[in-house]
Symmetry: C2
Subunit: 295 residues, 2 copies
């Protein structure tokens, strides 16, 4: 099979797999209280690239784990991601009525139910991870808590709030994104890797370097797409970040330099994987996918 | 020492102890992002009866645990409780600008920061518990996740939302409160007990019966105080629950029958502890405290 096709097959298989896992761990749609159960399923299922679960599965393969062991951490990171999107879209945050081309959770279910659905998804993430067949599920929970909390994702969003209409240096912008999106991407990689054989210190450091570069690349590309998307579809307003006065890698570096930065980060992510040789193929392909995607 | 004084000393010591533990596990006030750190500390410290931590310490004593082992689960349940109060007070939920006699978190820090502070406190709760010196911290995380999630606290709040201006039977009202407040109270007791020697099945069942009765008694008394508090301070509007059209044990049973129900639940809680004999003294005293409190 040619490599592009093999990658597409691998990717599709795992995207279907995580969809099944998520559908199974979420409360059934008729489970009381039904509005909450439906809001949780609505916000999680049938949408998203599943980048974080894919990173977990790829890192699990790297350490010789079977996909069924990675299912729980892959689901946990996606549940955290999904809850963060619900809360991010609320009127008091980004106030976004659309998500993935359909009404955002609060637009569909009301603000109070959406708030609680996000809260319940965060609890579910820890519940799923605590029950995982890992060597040390408690250590995994501690890692996820760190990634999701005040020094990780939630902290990054708080920095983001304070940055509206501010001018950030490239270093400040990178720090914000390392917290806001990088921490959870890092957790996805390390929790997936924790499903297989133990890592040597140098291997753990290599995965950390990969995750840091790939996570930041993801955000730079997001900022580029936010601008290019609007530029290509003339007549539309400028991208959402620009409209909200948020500093982005494009506003900070310019479009051409932002594109170059994404490519440099992709190369950095792939170079970090060198100690693993061919075993890191899927992680390498994921870094390519993160930077070369068009949406 | 007379029993009342001994109880007051025990209670005060543990209230001071948990205050110190919480102050230590929370981000320092100047820890970046500072607004988030300050909002988290504001919502958790210097307030509250610390009933859930006291239940955890008392249950830990029952199984022969030292307080320093109970610190982590005691803090974890209180952090979950504190986050739920922040989110409960938000405009899209109960819209309450006051909490414990001071501005609620969003009134002091803005809605977005309050939302994120609640989110970060939930993550912190799991982080603290995952690092606890328990036999099985992962099982503890799974128990806390169940108590906090869609089948526990968050689910109970969703039922509560749907119940405004509805007439609930006593059974429906009890089901709602067993989820909304009972689940976390139950977790406080079981997580505290898990710090000491393993429980026999009959002992675990006895603690479950205690927690269920004490948790429900707490809510019945809350409803009674909501009415009596307003009746005693003439000129004020009626209690908050009544004003919001929420069904309560008083609206469901009447004031006298609600008082009787609280007393019956107190007796039920204490009776459940019989297998433990004098070792359950603090838990018995806590059930008394829950029902006989005046605020």
């Amino acid at each position: 099979m040619n490599p592009d096709l093999a990658w597409a097959v691998w990717c599709g298989e795992r995207q279907r797999r995580i969809e099944d896992v998520l559908a199974r761990v979420l409360p059934a749609a008729d489970c009381a209280p039904a509005p909450l159960s439906r809001a949780m399923r609505y916000a999680v299922l049938e949408g998203g690239k599943r980048m974080r679960p894919l990173l977990a599965y790829a890192a699990g393969e790297l350490t010789g784990s079977l996909p069924e062991v990675v299912d729980a951490p892959a689901a946990a990171v996606e549940l955290i991601h999904a809850y963060s999107l619900i809360h991010d879209d609320l009127p008091c945050m980004d106030d976004d009525a659309l998500r993935r081309g359909k009404p955002s959770c609060h637009a569909a279910f009301g603000e109070a139910t959406a708030l609680l659905a996000g809260d319940a998804l965060q609890a579910l993430a820890f519940g799923v991870l605590a029950g995982a067949r890992l060597r040390d599920p408690a250590e995994a929970c501690a890692r996820l808590a760190e990634a999701a909390g005040a020094r990780g994702m939630a902290g990054g969003q708080a920095v983001d709030l304070d940055s509206v209409h501010a001018t950030l240096s490239r270093a400040e912008l990178e720090t914000m994104h390392r917290m806001k999106t990088g921490a959870l991407i890092h957790a996805a990689v390390r929790l997936g890797a924790a499903c297989g054989r133990p890592l040597a210190d140098a291997e753990a450091a290599a995965l950390d370097a990969y995750a840091a570069a790939a996570g930041l690349a993801f955000q730079v590309v997001d900022d580029v797409l936010d601008v290019e998307g609007s530029a290509e579809s003339l007549g539309k307003t400028a991208g959402k970040d620009v409209a909200q006065g948020k500093p982005t890698f494009v506003s900070c570096l310019g479009l051409a330099a932002a594109r170059e930065r994404a490519e440099a980060l992709r190369a950095e992510a792939c170079a970090a994987l060198a100690p693993f040789g061919a075993a890191a193929r899927r992680l390498t392909e994921l870094a390519d996918w993160i930077v070369l995607r068009t949406h």
